[in-house]
């Protein structure tokens, strides 16, 4: 009884009181739609006909046997994996640069944060112009330097058609993804680097370690757990993203840049087949979950060492 007579002093009680609203809100707002998504996947719901009739695994089989879906799934994984490699490399370099002191750092940091700070869909407008089929400033530069044009090294045409050929459109999308997501990974790595005790770095210096050895044998192993977290963040953002391709290509040419999120949007919302759309996006979930669990485990194991 004594415990309840001062409810606002009870650690546990106040803890529950403080945590519950947020937990409830999130569970309702994420958990319920998530369950609904699963239910949709087993039904024949459409925008026009909202009855939930149980149809078993039909949607999933239909989706899985769909060639377009296979290709979309593959493209999504390819985009995610390839872009992560470049993001990790660039983010490491940039994190090392920006944890040092140099003149003009503030301004350089501002410039380099811009791709991340700008709302994705707006930044993509800039790239839509940069990669325009006819007016691309990049093509213009290549034309002036002789890489394009009648006797061009890359092509005889005046344009490369960045977003209109199968290979280039994929490369363009990956490049733009790397461009916009490197800053986030960098910031996370910066947090890791700045949390290394200065004593350790001083010690390495006294021990005679040079820049590269300190980097490879001290700094990188110590931020490994945080690197895994950065990777997890950017992989999941990338995997679930549809904004970039929505603005740049709408999935084209043909299906070469169609990713899972966009496909599910096009089938579910634009095509009105909510059930199939839900089924498509649900295919991503086990993969995401496995990825998250695997990486969090790796991170915590690395930390224990």
């Amino acid at each position: 009884m004594a415990r309840l007579s001062y409810p606002l002093d009870n650690r546990r009680l106040v803890g529950i009181m403080f945590l519950t609203p947020a937990l409830l809100y999130i569970l309702l707002l994420v958990g319920f739609p998530f369950l609904l998504a699963i239910a949709f996947g087993f039904s024949d719901v459409t925008v026009g006909n909202t009855d939930l009739n149980f149809v078993g695994l039909r949607n999933y089989f239909a989706v899985w046997e769909n060639d377009i879906f296979r290709q979309v799934f593959e493209t999504t994984i390819r985009f995610t994996l390839v872009s992560q490699i470049f993001i990790l490399i660039f983010a490491n370099i940039l994190a090392i640069i920006f944890t040092q002191d140099f003149t003009g750092k503030w301004f350089a940091r501002f410039i380099f944060i811009l791709p991340w700070a700008t709302p994705v869909s707006l930044a993509m407008i800039g790239w839509l112009w940069m990669l325009d089929t006819k007016y691309s400033p990049i093509d213009y530069l290549l034309l002036q330097t002789g890489f394009l044009g009648p006797n061009g090294i890359l092509s005889n045409s005046r344009n490369l058609f960045w977003l209109a050929t199968p290979d280039l459109s994929q490369i363009s999308v990956i490049f733009v993804q790397v461009w916009r997501m490197t800053p986030l990974a960098t910031v996370i790595l910066m947090a890791g680097l700045s949390s290394i005790p200065t004593d350790i770095l001083d010690q390495a210096e006294v021990d005679g370690s040079r820049f590269m050895r300190t980097l490879l044998q001290i700094k990188l192993p110590l931020i490994l757990p945080i690197m895994v977290i950065a990777l997890l963040f950017s992989m999941i953002t990338m995997f679930g993203d549809m904004t970039v391709v929505y603005v740049l290509t709408r999935g084209g040419p043909v299906d070469y840049t169609r990713v899972l999120g966009l496909y599910s949007f096009q089938v579910g919302i634009e095509g009105g087949n909510l059930a199939q759309g839900a089924a498509i996006s649900l295919f991503a979930f086990p993969l995401l979950l496995a990825m998250a669990i695997f990486m969090l485990r790796t991170a915590s194991r690395a930390e224990v060492q």
């Binding site: 005790p197 001083d202 021990d207």
Partner: protein
């Protein structure tokens, strides 16, 4: 022969003068302690010797070579940090081997030589059974040994130690102090040890450098610093409880509480100065009694006496007694500069 020679060394951080003109010669094989309160510049001085901090002005020579502009790895020094700074992701063997591998090109070691060196050093420090462990699996004392092993493995000409005992609990500390001193003596390495703990300094140092406000106040053996302080700062910084300081007209004078005893305990009072002492409070400390009171004529300045418990003198609260100090135990200081003044030149002034 001095192995480290420091000439008018200065380090300013913006307007803060962390080290403000230090001259110091460190001898081969000696254990030198740099002692001072926090913020006195002792750690900055050590970091400059290590090469982690670039001096604003002045020179550092190690082994006869000017190293002022050289990076740490070219100086032949090694360092033990307060936190030990063991690499948490490497086991003990790799921690100790790290400086050897880092300087492999300069020192020309192959893999086998590295293994041998690490194992030898580990044996000397009695950590050869721990080589496979990671730092977090070690006790505080073991970590300290690993840190020392890592510092010693390259056979540096100077070993720098930045308060390496302060992370140990009191019981371990005394033990670790002995071991450190024994180890230094047997290996005959030059050690520079920074601390704010005067007991550590007195116990370890062949010589002690007392620093305050970026300047060296006094250099000397523990005994000479305690018995012959160069100025009022050194006099009051060393000793616990610290020296009593009383004001006279044109100077100040001081004496240590343990020299301030009832007159009856002095064998020849004619060589002593007698004070009328009013006892306000007595603390019983076991082996000693700590007496708080006032000397007649100096009622504003609390004066302490430390009287051994085994002498049968009764000291009552609010009693008046005659206390005495031997003349040689009274130190005189300049009123303004705080510097020591020779006793003879003042004798008449009394």
């Amino acid at each position: 022969m001095s192995i480290v020679q420091i000439t008018s060394l200065k380090k300013y951080f913006d307007s803060v003068r962390a080290v403000d003109g230090v001259d110091l010669a460190i001898d081969q094989g000696e254990f030198l302690v740099i002692l001072g309160p926090s913020g006195c510049g002792k750690t900055t001085l050590m970091r400059m010797i290590a090469g982690l901090e670039k001096p604003t002005a002045g020179h550092i020579e190690i082994g006869g070579e000017d190293v002022t502009d050289l990076p740490p790895r070219k100086r032949g020094v090694s360092m033990v940090f307060q936190s030990y700074a063991l690499y948490p992701h490497m086991n003990v063997f790799n921690n100790i081997a790290f400086p050897l591998r880092a300087q492999r090109r300069e020192l020309k070691f192959d893999k086998r030589a590295i293994r041998e060196k690490v194992e030898n050093t580990a044996r000397v420090l009695e950590i050869d059974s721990l080589l496979d462990r990671r730092p977090r699996q070690l006790s505080g004392g073991q970590r300290q040994r690993v840190a020392i092993a890592r510092a010693m493995v390259t056979q540096p000409s100077v070993l720098l130690l930045d308060e390496p005992l302060s992370n140990l609990d009191a019981k371990l500390r005394a033990n670790a102090r002995d071991e450190l001193k024994d180890f230094q003596r047997s290996s005959n390495i030059t050690a520079v040890f920074v601390t704010h703990d005067q007991i550590e300094a007195m116990g370890l140092g062949d010589r002690i450098v007392v620093m305050s406000e970026g300047k060296i106040q006094q250099i000397g053996t523990p005994q000479s610093i305690y018995d012959d302080p160069a100025n009022e700062f050194v006099a009051t910084f060393l000793g616990s409880p610290s020296m009593n300081i009383l004001s006279a007209k044109r100077f100040r004078f001081g004496f240590r509480p343990e020299h301030f005893l009832p007159k009856t305990l002095h064998d020849n009072p004619e060589n002593s100065r007698i004070f009328h002492y009013y006892v306000k409070r007595v603390e019983y400390l076991g082996s000693d009694r700590l007496v708080y009171g006032y000397v007649q004529g100096h009622e504003r300045e609390l004066t302490l006496a430390k009287v051994p418990s085994n002498v049968r003198v009764s000291l009552d609260i609010e009693g008046d007694y005659e206390f005495a100090v031997h003349n040689r135990d009274i130190k005189y200081f300049d009123n303004i500069s705080g510097q020591r003044i020779e006793q003879q030149s003042l004798a008449q002034a009394f």
